[in-house]
């Protein structure tokens, strides 16, 4: 099992200790904090992680803290713990991207499932992020002309059509196309289309 972290924030130190014990018994590495400030101030190793957060905290509420994390662009899956199942609150939390909303006292398996799911999500997000970084680097390596030709290629146009619309010779287009395939490390047109799609989705997200 690759290294991962679970952060727990709850202002009740007894609850905090019990959650720590439960997660530790399943082999998770756990860091506990009695306030959001402690979490923000502490060091966070660059490993897949998730955050177990009490909704009702002294100082900022858990939901406010969720927004704060969002603003600070700290993308970490959040599992909320709440004293009472408040529907509007849980809806708000889920909309803001929480992965689970557990009512205290919760079933241990529910929390463990949620934590596993959260870490899985985070790991996935991280690898995705890493792949995208590589793809972006490859894209950056292309010449402006090649970047111009790429969308035409992936939209299924023939070399002849591309040559016509860009007023180039068909041979030149062919050369560019080969360059694109090589720089993007795509073995087939289908693969190139997939890569372009991911890059486009990423650009749209930002």
């Amino acid at each position: 099992m690759a290294r991962s972290m679970v952060y727990v924030v709850d202002d009740d130190r007894y609850v905090l200790a019990s959650v720590e014990s439960l997660l530790a018994s399943e082999g998770y590495e756990v860091a506990t904090f009695s306030s959001p400030d402690g979490f923000m101030a502490g060091k966070r190793p660059d490993v897949p992680a998730c955050l177990v957060l009490d909704v009702r905290l002294r100082g900022a509420s858990g939901l406010e803290f969720q927004r704060e994390l969002h603003r600070a662009r700290i993308a970490i899956p959040i599992i909320f713990l709440t004293g009472h199942g408040d529907v509007p609150m849980s809806v708000a939390a889920m909309k803001a991207g929480a992965i689970e909303f557990l009512t205290k006292p919760f079933r241990d398996q529910d929390l463990l499932d949620a934590v596993r799911h959260g870490i899985e999500l985070d790991r996935h997000r991280r690898s995705n992020e890493a792949q995208l970084v590589v793809l972006r680097q490859r894209y950056e390596a292309m010449t402006p002309r090649e970047r111009e030709i790429l969308p035409l290629v992936v939209s299924g146009q023939m070399n002849k059509q591309i040559a016509f619309s860009l007023s180039l010779s068909e041979v030149t287009v062919k050369v560019h196309r080969a360059q694109i395939m090589q720089k993007m490390q795509a073995r087939s047109l289908i693969e190139l289309v997939r890569i372009a799609d991911r890059l486009a989705a990423d650009a749209a997200r930002i």
Binding site: A17, S18, L22, S25, R58, G59, S61, D108
Partner: protein
Amino acid sequence: MLRPAAADAVAGVHEGQGRVSDEIDDALGAPAQFPLVHSPTRGRWLIAAVLLSLLIVIGFALTMPFARLSTGRSELLLPAYAAGIFLLELMTAVLLIALFNLRRSPALLLLSSGYLFSALLVPAWVLSFPGVFAPFGIELGLQFTAAIAAARRIGFPLFVLAYALAPRTAPLTLAPGRSIVAAVFLVMACVAFIMVVVFLNRPGLPSLMMDARNVGPLWHMVPAATLVLYGLAIVILLTRHRSQLDIWVALVVFSLTIELLLISYLGGGVRLSVGWWAGRTYGLLAASIVLMVLLVESIHVYGRLAQTVAAERRARRGQMTAVEALSASIAHEINQPLTSMITNANAGLRWLLKDEPRLDRAQAALRHIVEDGHRASSIVTGIRSMFTKGRQERTELEMNALVEAAVQAARSEALQEFIEVRDVFAPHLPTVVGNAAQLGHVMRNLIENAVDSVRSGRGWPRRVIIRTWVGEGDEVRVSVEDNGPGIAPEVADRLFDPFVTTKAGGMGMGLMFCRAVVEAHGGRLWATSEDGGAAFHFSLPSVMFAGHDQG
């Protein structure tokens, strides 16, 4: 930490059940809410009354030169005039009776009887007026009309005098409903009696009128007597001046005086002259003054009542949220240790069931479960002690020891956040009598608040100082000072109200509970705030003669 103060909130809700009806009573009954009958005239109303009487005098002066001009066959207008007077006086009587029903003031019943008396004589007067209903064959004779007019003229000021002299508040011998019925019956009987006597003695009536228009010499007795009564009534009303209504009644009598002067003297006693009609106008004015005032007043009262009811409804809604908040608070307090116990138990099982069981961790989990169990139990005990009144056990206490225990409990946790909790104790503190658990709760609550405050502030080094000392009259004082941000001015006034909190997760019950406990011990709790933080102080009376338990 439990905030038990809300027990009072619950009690408050039960007490509040019958409050709306009381409020309505208050709105209608309290002097401040119905100034017409109770308080003397002030401000705008007095100005209005003075202005109105000035207008009456001016009108009077303007009519004087034309008073004796005749107006031809203007008796045709008389039925309309009579109908107006009749309705106005009857409505005034009804409203005054309604007011009496609320206020139970005998004077009001007398005044309304006067209006009723005056109103009931109007139909006979106008029906018998010479020439008005002659086409219908009603002809009762000259003297009949005059006699009725004389009775009406003299009767009303007598009622007003009775009103002016009657006590405003007197225990009624009859129920208000019965008094009303009796008064109405008496007035009707009186009117009937007068009419019957006058009707039966028509031939033998004194000759008040010479002909249909001109009064005889005997008539002059009537306005003279009436004017004396009017003058007397005005003087008594203005000198005693017990309510706004007195002023208005005096104004009524004043305009009746003008009416009489115009009709009987300036108009030369000639019926249907300009002076006579002008006088009648003042009669109409006189009849409407009290009615108008009553109507304006009742609209005011209605407005105030609506406001009161709305305010009550808001307060009630507030209490409902108080109960909901209290139950949510208790649920939360119990839920925390429960969560911790269940989670620890699960964790303990998992530690034991591992391939290599970790006995040390399982043991720790079990120990935590025991602690949580005690925590939950103390919360339940706290709630129970809150709800069973008068069962609090009180013993002699050393405040230093009690404060020390609370400081110890808070110190280790606070130190983790670099907050120093320091105590400065007076060496020889007098003994106090109190409930150790409750006062301990107060101490923990205050220290916890102070620590929270320091945590959210920028003061450095972060510290909370708890002092004990001996105050005036040997009272024991304890103060909890912090160097947090202090108390915001907008919160300062409401600091001890329930549900006032500056903490995002706080219920705002803590300080309210603290104050309730301290005051139940005969002490005081107050707060001071400076730039350098806030301080909460409480004092407890010391026992002079250390004795036995007072529980």
